[in-house]
């Protein structure tokens, strides 16, 4: 069993604290993605799990044992690095078998394991090449092969796809997911790309400035963001966040427009409260062009400033309360700038955040 537990883990560089006592429990065989903007401490956290960075305070357990003072080699984990870190003076075969050779395993067993990993990842034909003779995607696969060969308790991935071009990235993303389904192991995966996080994760850990902002399944963090940061970070295009004031059961924007307070949140706000009204573009759709009709709705007439057709949908840019807001038009028709359309607001999907704290009012 390879449960990974982080207990009030702190990282300090001198006087500078970069990770502020985070708690996290990663279940056996779970795929957890740490996501956040650069400098949020996600890579540092991963490196602390790997043993490549000292833990300043708190404890990390792998499979129940505190590993704070264990060197990387004794943690029975493997890691895929952003730049792959393949050994350039060794062939693919030697790269794959290196860890087992260091562990003085039987050469025959090494050969079997290497063959097995090569087959899993489709590297059979490349075993005698050196890393310099491989393409980016192939190097990526070798790096993953090197990780699975040792049958570790957990895989750590540090932004493994960020060096690949867009097309290959999507392809490798799928491969990583398939690999995890094949080789059931605990995975901790670091990325700054929320799409990668959403598509890969069993659970997403959203980090900012050395703190965990929210932990949850992709749908949880998407549907119930705990604060404005998570709301704006997860989802593309991002959630519209509009300043407003609650008065008489309605949300009043600064430009005089207003919407009713969503009924599920009615008891959560008080009159006069300054809030941020959050609405995903998918929930702001011109009438007749939404995904699902019915439910709690409100209407708003808005002027379209710009439209971006994407095929199955068109993204519409408009202004609410002097702020740019985005809506979506499913089953699109051509829209010209300046056109005024009546938009459906799916109120049951709308969010309210306290303006001062940024926290979702639903969470309290």
């Amino acid at each position: 069993m390879a449960e990974i537990t982080l207990d009030k883990v702190v990282k300090r560089y001198g006087k500078l604290e970069v990770v502020h006592g985070i708690d996290l429990k990663i279940a056996h065989n779970e795929f957890v993605v740490l996501v956040g903007p650069s400098g949020c401490g996600k890579s540092t956290t991963l490196r602390m799990i790997a043993g490549l960075e000292d833990i300043s305070d708190g404890a990390i357990r792998i499979g129940g044992d505190v590993v704070n003072d264990l060197p990387p080699r004794k943690r029975n984990i493997s890691m895929v690095f952003q730049n792959y870190a393949l050994y350039p003076h060794m062939s693919v075969r030697e790269n794959l078998g290196f860890g087992l050779k260091i562990a003085k395993q039987d050469p025959k067993m090494i050969e079997e394991r290497v063959a097995e990993a090569a087959e899993t990842l489709g590297l059979d034909a490349l075993l005698d090449r050196t890393p310099a003779e491989l393409s980016g995607g192939q190097r990526q696969r070798v790096a993953m092969g090197r990780a699975i060969v040792r049958h570790p308790e957990a895989f750590l991935f540090d932004e493994p796809l960020s060096n690949l071009d867009a097309k290959l990235r999507v392809q490798m993303r799928t491969e990583i997911k398939k690999l995890h389904q094949k080789v059931k192991t605990t995975v901790v995966y670091v990325t700054h790309d929320q799409v990668e996080a959403m598509t890969l994760a069993d659970r997403i850990v959203i980090m900012r400035d050395g703190n965990i902002e929210q932990v949850g399944t992709p749908m949880e963090v998407f549907d119930h963001p705990l604060n404005t940061f998570v709301a704006s970070f997860i989802g593309s295009p991002p959630m519209n966040l509009l300043p407003a004031t609650v008065r008489g059961g309605a949300v009043h924007f600064t430009d005089g427009k207003s919407l009713p307070v969503p009924s599920r949140l009615a008891g959560k706000v008080r009159d006069g409260q300054e809030v941020t009204f959050g609405l995903r573009p998918d929930d702001l759709t011109p009438q007749g062009h939404g995904i699902a009709e019915g439910g709690e709705r409100a209407q708003m007439e808005l002027e379209v400033i710009l439209s971006e057709p994407l095929g199955t949908e068109t993204i519409l840019y408009t202004t609410i309360a002097g702020q740019e807001a985005q809506g979506k038009m499913y089953g699109p028709r051509p829209v010209s700038p300046g056109e005024r359309l009546v938009f459906d607001v799916a109120l049951e999907k709308a969010h309210l955040f306290d303006a001062a704290t940024g926290r979702s009012v639903a969470a309290d």
Binding site: G51, R73, N83, A85, I102, A132
Partner: protein
């Protein structure tokens, strides 16, 4: 448009220029080699004799003491001294250079930049400027005319350069290499020897050659700090051919050839390492 003729003419001119420059550079060396194989009388002949009329190994026999008419110069001792001093000082300089270079490339520590700058600045001081203080200190310590005395001086002379060169090579190796090796099961020490050292080998070999050649060819300090066959090196030994009124040019040339040969052999042996273009491909870049 350049015509084919002008193109060819330009090429020819370039070759002639190259030839002239090469002649200017090579003739003194060639003259030394030719002189090593001719009798002393021919050296001073006017007009000069280019190709030795009766080439032979007499000069070599003489300096090794096989000829009757000349006092032997203790070339074997000088040779041994040179070899011991150059090899030992190179080995020590490489050891320090490797540890130092690795430390500068990988670790952060107090005054790192200051120390590095200090090392580099020490290279700006010509060694000969230090010869008097070194002489005084060495004579007090009893290191004059000893091999260790010269070895210490050469290590000091070579260390800044080897650290600088090796640091550059380790810097090129991403630190993720050693981290990957550590995750793969290596100790830090194993990660160094199995991954980082092989990748920096060409740099370390280059540093070694430079250090060896510096020690092997050094004259100024050696001439101050050595006295006898206990420690005299080959370049200093060359001066044995100058007497009060005569200079044995032929003998001196023969010995010069002896000095050049090991350096040449060594350079050829390790030259493939000098081509530092080790195929990096382990990382994106």
């Amino acid at each position: 448009m350049r015509t084919p003729f002008r193109k060819t003419a330009g090429k020819v001119a370039l070759w002639i220029l190259t030839f002239v420059l090469m002649v200017i550079m090579c003739v003194p060396g060639l003259w030394v080699v030719l002189t090593a194989f001719r009798p002393n009388a021919e050296v001073l002949a006017k007009p000069p004799v280019w190709i030795p009329e009766d080439p032979g190994l007499t000069n070599f026999a003489k300096i090794f003491g096989f000829a009757a008419d000349q006092v032997a110069i203790p070339v074997p001792s000088y040779f041994a001294n040179s070899l011991i001093i150059a090899l030992t000082s190179t080995a020590i300089a490489l050891l320090i250079g490797m540890s130092g270079g690795y430390a500068f490339a990988r670790y952060r520590f107090r005054f790192k930049n200051g120390i590095f700058l200090g090392l580099m600045l020490s290279r700006t001081v010509p060694g000969i400027a230090l010869s008097l203080p070194v002489f005084i200190i060495w004579s007090k310590l009893g290191l004059i005319d000893t091999k260790p005395g010269l070895i210490i001086v050469y290590v000091a002379l070579n260390v800044p350069f080897t650290i600088w060169l090796i640091d550059g090579f380790f810097r090129q190796i991403p630190k993720e290499m050693s981290e990957a090796a550590q995750v793969d099961g290596c100790t830090r020490w194993q990660a160094f020897w199995k991954i980082e050292f092989p990748l920096a080998k060409s740099g370390i070999a280059s540093a070694g050659i430079f250090a060896f050649l510096t020690s092997w060819n050094e004259y100024a300090l050696a001439s101050n700090l050595t006295r006898s066959t206990d420690s005299k090196t080959l370049p200093v030994g060359l001066m044995d051919f100058t007497a009060q009124f005569t200079i044995d040019w032929a003998g001196m040339s023969a010995m010069a050839v002896i000095i050049i040969i090991p350096a040449l052999i060594l350079t050829f042996l390790v030259q493939k390492h000098l081509i530092a273009g080790l195929t990096f491909g382990g990382v994106k870049g």
